[in-house]
Every structure is written in C-alpha cells, then in structure tokens.
Symmetry: D2
Amino acid sequence: MTTQPAPTKPAAPPKAMRAFAMLGLGRTGFVQKPLPVAGPNDAIVKTTHALVCTSDSHTVHGAIGPRELLTLGHEAVGIVYAVGSEVRRFKPGDRVVVGAITPDWGSEEAQNGFPSQSSGALGGWKYANIKDGVFAEYFHVNEADANMALIPPDVASEQAVYCADMLSTGFMAAEHGEIPIGGTVAIFAQGPVGLMATAGARLRGAGRIFAVESEPRRADLAREFGAHLVVDFSKEDPVARIIAETSGIGVDTAIEALGTEKSFQQCVEVTKPGGTISNVGYHGSDDYVAIPRVAWGVGMADKTIRTGLCPGGSLRLERLLRVLQQRQLDPTKMTMHTFGFEDMNKAFEIMDRKLDGVLKPLIVF
Amino acid sequence: MTTQPAPTKPAAPPKAMRAFAMLGLGRTGFVQKPLPVAGPNDAIVKTTHALVCTSDSHTVHGAIGPRELLTLGHEAVGIVYAVGSEVRRFKPGDRVVVGAITPDWGSEEAQNGFPSQSSGALGGWKYANIKDGVFAEYFHVNEADANMALIPPDVASEQAVYCADMLSTGFMAAEHGEIPIGGTVAIFAQGPVGLMATAGARLRGAGRIFAVESEPRRADLAREFGAHLVVDFSKEDPVARIIAETSGIGVDTAIEALGTEKSFQQCVEVTKPGGTISNVGYHGSDDYVAIPRVAWGVGMADKTIRTGLCPGGSLRLERLLRVLQQRQLDPTKMTMHTFGFEDMNKAFEIMDRKLDGVLKPLIVF
Amino acid sequence: MTTQPAPTKPAAPPKAMRAFAMLGLGRTGFVQKPLPVAGPNDAIVKTTHALVCTSDSHTVHGAIGPRELLTLGHEAVGIVYAVGSEVRRFKPGDRVVVGAITPDWGSEEAQNGFPSQSSGALGGWKYANIKDGVFAEYFHVNEADANMALIPPDVASEQAVYCADMLSTGFMAAEHGEIPIGGTVAIFAQGPVGLMATAGARLRGAGRIFAVESEPRRADLAREFGAHLVVDFSKEDPVARIIAETSGIGVDTAIEALGTEKSFQQCVEVTKPGGTISNVGYHGSDDYVAIPRVAWGVGMADKTIRTGLCPGGSLRLERLLRVLQQRQLDPTKMTMHTFGFEDMNKAFEIMDRKLDGVLKPLIVF
Amino acid sequence: MTTQPAPTKPAAPPKAMRAFAMLGLGRTGFVQKPLPVAGPNDAIVKTTHALVCTSDSHTVHGAIGPRELLTLGHEAVGIVYAVGSEVRRFKPGDRVVVGAITPDWGSEEAQNGFPSQSSGALGGWKYANIKDGVFAEYFHVNEADANMALIPPDVASEQAVYCADMLSTGFMAAEHGEIPIGGTVAIFAQGPVGLMATAGARLRGAGRIFAVESEPRRADLAREFGAHLVVDFSKEDPVARIIAETSGIGVDTAIEALGTEKSFQQCVEVTKPGGTISNVGYHGSDDYVAIPRVAWGVGMADKTIRTGLCPGGSLRLERLLRVLQQRQLDPTKMTMHTFGFEDMNKAFEIMDRKLDGVLKPLIVF
C-alpha cells in the first residue's frame, strides 16, 4: 500500500541461480536455472526462508505424475527483487510472504468464490506443480498485488513463513467445519496441518476439541495448540471414545487431516446428524474413498462433507499475520529442525523419511 | 389460523378402524386397530387422501428392519377429528395436510437447524417407521400445531397431498444444491422425487437443467417440469454428455435422486470444482457408498456433498401450498393411478412391482 | 437426559412465595404471589441465583409500557421443583440454568430459524415482559425440555447464571458479525453485553479488537476479555481512530452494544464495504434510528445491518456451559456486588442509578 | 474461450471518435475524444447497442459531484476491437456484453467476496464515474477476460444489453433477499430495476409477490414479470395492505428499488421478524436514511438490512445470458423507445424528464 519511489535495481543482476528440483521420479538435487522473469502483473522474490512440506515428498514420489527439473517447494518468504509494470502495491526491497496457492483472481472459479480452484480443479496450486517452486534463490509470483503480503515489522520471517500454507490450510479446515461457539470438534491426525486445524478450532471458540494422535510429541503440541483431549488411536477406538465423550451424540464437526480412507470414515462416524465433515487431508491413493453408508444416515442425515485447498490471497495472508502479531499462537513450535539452503538434500531426506519426529524443517537462505 | 367455533364432535366416536399394515417381512394386508389417542400436543386426523411411496415398499421388504402390524404410509391429507389440550391452531373439521416428517421441534437437533434429525438420525421420520402410518381411517399427528397446515380453499386435496413429501423433498434437493440464478444443474433419475427436484431447480432460476432418465414417460414429465435437456443414460454416457454441454467445466449442482452408488459417483463427476452434490436418494444397500477420488479432487476441490431428509413443519407446508395456489406447477401430472382405500392391496402391488409406468398411486378414502 | 425416578415431592408444598415486582411505573417492591403451576410441557424452578439486568430498570421506567405487579428478572439458575407430564429430560432436584429467552419451539418463527422471535417480534422474551420473571422464590419455565440445561458439576452456579443472557447475547453479537479469523472488530460500549461481545470476538479468532469505552474499570475488563486496543471516546473521535488503525479501510465487523443512535452511526462509519454492523443494543427512544447515508454507501456498499435478541434453548446453554467448563473466560469478573434476595431493593437501586461502577449485581436466594 | 488466431487489425485505425458526455453540471452534448488505449489486461470495444439509465441523469445533475467532459453511459454491448497482451479469452471481432460494474478482481474487496466494492466503496463502478462511459463509438474494458462475456448466437444484442446492469442488479435484489421457495416478497417501485427484482423473485420461486406501483404501464409489466398482486400506493396504504395479505405476519423479504426514505421505511415495516430488507435503490439525498425504530424491533427483531451494487464479472454475465437463452423472461418489454446514437440528446432528455412513460431507451450505434 505504501508507494515510495522504487530503489534503484542492482547494477548487474544475476543471470542464473541455484534451485532444488525434482530431477525425475524419486530423484532430487540442485540445478542451475535462469532467473525467472516478471510479466506485467508479476513479481520476482529473493527467497530468505522456506518450509518443507510432506506434499513435496509426495510429488517426488509421483503423486501428481512425472515432472522433470521442476523446482520444489511452495512455502516461502523473501524480499521483492523486481515487479512488473502493472504492480502497484509492492516495490523491490519489501519483505513479503507469498501464498502457497496463487490464484488467477479474474478466473471464473475465483469469481464464483473458489479462487483455489482457479482455471480448473486445484488450479491455484502452481508452485512445484505447474511452474517452478520456491526452493530456489529467486521465485516468480503471478498477480503479485493479490498474492503476497507485506510482513509487519513485529513478525519474524520464521513465523510469517507459516502463513503461506500451514495456518491458511489448517484454519480453513476449522472454518469449513462451521464450528459454533462452544461446539464439539474431532480432528484426526496432528501433523502440521492437523495441529493448525486444532489451533483453528480453538480460534473459532470450540467448546471441546478432541485430537486423535498417537505420537507423544505431536500429542503434546496438540494440547498446546488447544486440544482438550488427545485420543491415542493405537490404544483405543477413537470413534467409540469420542461418541462416549459426547454423551452418544457425536461432534458438531470432524476434521480429516491425514488423507486416509479410514480416518475419513471415522470422521463420518463421529459426526452427529446435522454436523460437518471437513476434509483437508490429501487423498493420494486408490480409486475411491468410501463413505460408510449407515453412519452417513443412508444419505439423508444432513451430514455435510466439505473439502478445500489452502486459501491464497493477500487479504488472507494479512489476516493470518494479524493472528501472529497478536501472539494468539506460535507456529514455530513446529520448527524443530533448521537447515541452510545448501543442506536442502538433508532437509528433504529427513522430511521424506519422517526422521527424528520432524514436523516442519525450516530452510534459511 | 381461522378460529370458527368448533363443530360438535360425533355423538358416538368409533372405537376401531381399518388400517393397511406391514404384517411381517414381505407381507401386507388390512388389520383392525383401535383409534389413536391424542396427547396434549397432538391431533387425530381422519384420512381423506394418501399417496403410496416407494419407501413403503422398501420398508415391507425389510429396509428398516423387521416390523409387525405397523401401519404403512406417510403422505396424507384429511380432516381434523380431535385435538389435544395444548393445540391452539387447529380444531375438528379443519382440512389439513400433514408432513411426512413430523419433527420434535424442541429437540436439540431442531434447535440446531435440523428438525428432520430430531432426537437422532432421521428421527423426524415417525410414520410407518417408529409409529403407525397414514394408511388408516384415522392417524395421529405429534406436535400438531407445528406439523400440519390448513389447506386453502383454492387447493384441491389431490394437489395438497403432494406437499407432504414429494414437493418438500424434491425442492429440498434443489435448495441444498445452492443453485445460482442462471446456474447449471444435473438431476440423476426422474422418479417422483427427481421430477420435483427438477421442478425445484426451475423454481430457483436455474439456467440449464439436465435430467438423466431413460423411461420415455418420465422424460416427458421432466421436460414439463422444467428440464432443458433429458439425457438418456441407456443411449449415451451422461457424464460425458453433461461435461460436453457445459464446455468441459461441469455443473454448479448435481442432484442424486435415485440412491445408487453409480449415480452418486456420476454426480461427483459432473460437478465442477466449487459446486455442490445434493444427495436426496435413499442409499439402501451395501456397507459403503464410494466417492471417486480423482473426480472429487483428491479431497481438495471444494466439491461439497450435502444430504437431507424431507423437511417438515407447518411453515414449510404453507410455503409449498402457496406454490400450488399460484399454479407454478401441477404435481397431479404424476398421479396416473387412483384407488379406493379398499383397493390398497392393488395400489401397493402396482407400486411394489413398478407396473404400468406408475409414479404415485393416489388413495381416496 | 438422565431419567432416574423422580424423587418424592415435599409433603406440604408451599402455597405462596415472595416476589420482587414492578408495582407500577417507576415503583418496585416485594409482593406475595401464589406458586406458579406447570402445564404439561413446563417446569417450576426454585431460584438459587439471579442477576439484575439494565433492562429490568428500563422496564420499570416504562420502556415496554405499563405493567402492574409483574415480577422482574430474567437471568437465573435454580433447582427443578416440579415438572409437567410431558417433560422428559428433567426431574425435581436437578440444578439448571434457564434461558432469559424461552422460545415456543414449534412456532413458525422458530421453524424459520428465529426462535427468539417466536409468535411475533421479540416473542421469545417472556420473563418480566409477558409473564412473571425470575426474581421470586420459584419461577415457571415453558417448554422446559427445550429451554433449560443441566449445570455440570464443575461449573459454579455463580458462573452458570451468566449463560442465561450475558454470554448468549454478547456472543451472538460476535456471531452475527461474521468475523473471519484474523478479522478486525470494533465494539461500541463495554457494559456487560459489550464485554461479552468482546469475549465473543476473541472466541471467534478476531485479529484486532477495538473496544470503545471511557470508564476505566470497564476498559480494564475489556482488555482482560480480549480487546487489543481500548479507544476512549471522551478523549478522541473513535471513528477517526479506528479508521486510522485499519489503514483507512475500516473494520470487518462493528458491534453496537449501547443502544444509542450515535454509536449505531459510528458503527456504520467504521465498517468497511462488505462488512457487517451487528446491532445488539436495545434502542429505547425516539421514532427513528438514522443511518448515515454516505457512510452507508448510498445504500449500495454491501454493508449489512444485522440485529437479534438473545438466543435461547438448551443446546445454546450447553454450548455456553462448555465454554465455562474449559475456563475460556471468567464472567464473574463482572460480579462486583452480591446481595441476598431480601436486599433486592438495594441491588435494584444500585443498578438503576448505576452506582459504584456496578456491572452485574448477583442475587443469592 | 475460443482461441482462434486473431484477425488482422484494420489498416488505418481511427484516431478519434464521437462521445456523448457530461459537459458540466446539468449540461450534456457530443464531443470528440481520442480512441481509448488498451493496457495489457484490457480491451477496446466498438459499441453497437446501449441503454440509458436513470443514474446517468443523476450524474449530470451532480449526484456524484462535478465532472467535466466525462463520457456518460454504463450499459452496452459491442464488438471487440482490440485486446491487450495478457488477454486470453477474447479477440477482435467477438460480440460481447460488458458489465456496468467492472471490478478489480485482485483487489482485497473482491478477495473478500465483494468485487463491486473493489478498491473502495462502489469502486467497481468505473464507467461514467471514474473513467469515460460507453456512450461513445468505442469504450475501454479493464480486466477484459473477467469483465465481459461472449453473447451466444441465439441471444440478440438488444436482449443481451440488459445483462450489463438491469438483470444483474434486479436479480441481486432478489438474491440478497434470501427468498425461500414459496416465500412472500414485497417490491417497492417497478422501474426497470424493480421490474427485474420482480422477475428475480419469480426466478427464485417466491410464492407470493407484491409489487408496489401506481403507474399503470409499469403495473402491467410487473404482472407480466411475475407479480401476483400490484398494490397502488396512490390509492391505499401499501404497508397495511401487505400486512393484511400476509395474515398480519409480514413478508419474508422486502425489496427497496426506489431510493427514497419513505419506501425504505415501508420495507422495514412490511418485513416480518427474521426477514430481510434488500435495498437496491440509490439513496441520493439528505444526510440520513432513518429506520423506523419500533418496526425494526428496537434493534432486536432479526430483521436484516442488506445492500449491494450491481454484480459484475464474466461468470455473472454468462449466467444471465443463459436465462435469456432459455426465454425465462423478455427484458425488451422495457424497451419502448429506440434511438440512433445521433439522437442521443433526445434519448437523454426523454429519460431525464421521464417523458412518455419511458423505461429504458435503447441506443443503436
């Protein structure tokens, strides 16, 4: 929004940069790439911090099909390096966070209220999918005015980088759940998105939050982020327990944050008639995801199944940054590992193999 | 709402009545039953017209488990015969239509906005489920003030009886679909509920309505009730056709009005990202109803799956009666067969075996 | 929900009781009244704790017209003393909180989603309006199953009594405001309802909460309940300040919790296009409440004006009790004065004249 | 969506064009202007048909402040003449309709769901407000891909031009009203927007539509577009009549389509508790628009006041065109006068002075 005169650009701009890419199925490594170029509505950002996501790992293993020399990564903050002729709200030197999802805001899907689906299903997901991602010294931002936000001085970049995907996706799960103040919520799995769904449920004023998780460190974080009861599915049947805890009625909202058919079915089972199942897990295998017929009320029990993809946009990012400014939660509790960009291989491996209880490795450029 | 002086009650009230009941699995017939008695909030209605529903047939074949001597039927109009001490809005002699679903309006599910689920999943469905139905000379109405409506003089009973279930359920399918003015809708199957879903889509201002149906008489009725294009699934793939007709984008809303897994899956497939699948079909078999994973956007394409059970209540009934008063549609086009109550066995058989292109047999008492 | 056998009633039930009533315009005092009697759906509750509300004072001064010998009060908890024949969920001896608003759940307004308006505008408001209130040794509860809730053992009656009106009304103000996570909210006036609106905004995950208040003790409580900035309207223009704090854009939601035309207008002025003005203040004088035309965008700026009356019902009460069980806020911070029922005159006077910084006098029976 | 190779542009493009402009307060006339130039996201359209709007007249009389040499008009169709480098969906030669409101789709207001308010209150209204309008041989379209739509071959330009503003605004009034199927609606004033609100109410399935109008020709059109009863406010009190027609209850939805304080107040008065007042009239004078306090339920009767500005966007336009394709209504019934562009002065005068029962003068270029 500030429009100070743009500082002069560096005299001799770099011509090439390092990027961490998927080389082919199951293979990753560093490559040299030319700097991306900004069209009239775009920006180029110099990366300073990024987070590794489980979906980067899925991609490398073929979840979205074959890709070659595709730069990985979609969660990043950085410094604006260049902007196109039509960009009004940003200038080189600005410290910004960029949405993992960067919609085409004029698309009919966005006009219809679903920007993440712009120009086709999941079409707002561009980084490391249909264009190069953010694990590079520089990256490209389409419709820059609408897809990135200034980071306020009182928010550290290490915090802000969580807005790109984790807060936005996790909170969406809670928002889609239409949780009433004092309502009951069950959240299946407490990985980074599940933890942020738990935090989101607390932010919406849920009265009782059940988190389903067996790994002790994640269970502890779930409690810190707002879970009132953590159910260890390895020790008891989470459906039976949650139904019992709600006097046989079931919860207002169940959130699926894992992406397995079983946890999806458990969500349908613990949700009361008139309640909502909010799916945020990525269902990556098999041809079908089966709804349990009787628990679904034979298709007539007013149990609504919502889904969604991480909301993008500057407005969303600014709202999330505000939550961080007010210290309403501290997502860096999930940063238990930090690497330099040069150690990207190691960071990726730890995430890929889920070593050392990893949640979100932070990459510092 | 009219408050004429109540007519005097008959001097010697009948002690017993005829009812058409499920005698056991697969068996139906007439039985003698005592007249039902009204509690403080209830009414007793003398039946004048009723409609047979496919779900009556399902019930007899065991869909909701074993029942003995349960009176069948849930769609009826009649004359108020007696009312309880707390009933304020009705008096003996009133001509009324009663909802197929008669919720407990003080239940927490009703407070939560889902009266049809009152006191448990599908709990508003009482007739021929947890209490005797309407195929009898008299029937019982719980919470009478809230669960029935006066029929205006300019609406025939033969019309009004369609409000009990068919209009309410079919229109709900369209309402749940969140159809925008000018939006696109696909409706799978054009039985009575599907036809009323088609009429409902037209009433919501849909811009293009695709009805999927192969039976010629139903296809004709679909066109009369508002379908712009009828797709004969026996001659072409309805998914491919509807996707093509929408320029590859898919519809805003798909309505499942059959209750098969296949048509449910086709609904998911023809719905665009950000669209709604409105299920109104009763899914009566198998343990699961499987969602096609990729068409569902791997759980992230903002395709919402809604379900529901026929809305009840006097307000709903009055609104439906108003639609009939304005001649916005004529549901009696679906009445192709009429029987006296004494021919109930024949009426039931024709429905059970779907003979003679039957849609809704009308029973006159 | 528990249905143990009802304990035997006291051998010789009292025939009369003390009640604190409006004797006529501007006059209050104790009177003897017969015990209320429960109809089939009702209950009689023996009062243990009650709160005085500013609206009791308004009533005495004529706000709702002349009343004679009307028992005052609408916020109370107590012990069930008797239940009608149709009551299923409660029995004598149960410790309960009763909603200030006790809707007719079968009314068409309730069917339409607005139970507080049942049987006409504000028709759910019965206590000290169209029937005797709760400042008596016993009081009557219509549709008892739906209009009261068991108090869990871990919630004190002194806490629970705040659910009857203050939490329900204040939180409603926030809910009507459609506050997004991280959104901005301005709340005009921090009396008890305004303070609970502030707490409600925090419970919905607001990112920045502006409370407008000049009285220091209320300002302090506003901060405790979640305000990020308290604007003292006696020292600066709250509209200018809030607009400046939101970079000239205005807030997502403004809440009017005072009931003056000026604060209502300020709400319209600080709300951004597309935002919501949630009115919860009782506008008690003059023929009109004027909207500022230009700030309202000449009737085209998508600024929505919502209003409402305290939501009632057992489900609402149970959700509010859950918030107290989780210690998400402590409303007893507003209880700065406690009186025995015999000192009701004094309690009423302190509230009527707003002495000693009073917020909510608690009456112990 | 078609992407044929762009035809070659005319060899010698025109350098100047005629435009019909506001010359100063109260003065209009033809001027010569240079052709507008398309930026990267824009298009230039050669006008073929336009409609005059009452708001053009308001503008000339100073409603939006002083303007000099501003081209008037905001409702037009035409042929694409040139497109910018980033435009993907259109090419020269396409026959298109352009929204009267042309939002900035990446703005935060659009991201928030209110594109018409983009970049500030009413900021999507650019034509004849903050940039030259469409009463010229050529006009400029910002964000062309998102703000215009191809006209299907089976829709005449004379029909399509009504989508730019009249259908979009009038239908919005009905949509904002949240009309249930079978609900009751009162629409105050049957000018072009009011008539299209009436048509919109019918398209949403209203059960009873009351149109308030005294001018006989407009009353007739109201009936043709769907009104069930036209109340002549010059002969009876419309509030009393509508309340009586709804058994004393009031309507679900009242639509203000005139822009006077009196009709706005009548809307509040005829709306039932829990109902919606949908304001679409432009309130052009005085500092305040006063809500009647008691009819508003002293700020607590759940009567919601919605407002809005004509929705723009290609998706909206395509949906409206679909309604025309299906012949669901014929807006050209409102075209009772047609002029060539050279007779613009006459067309403007007839509209300005409301001569000859004019509704919408059509301008043919």
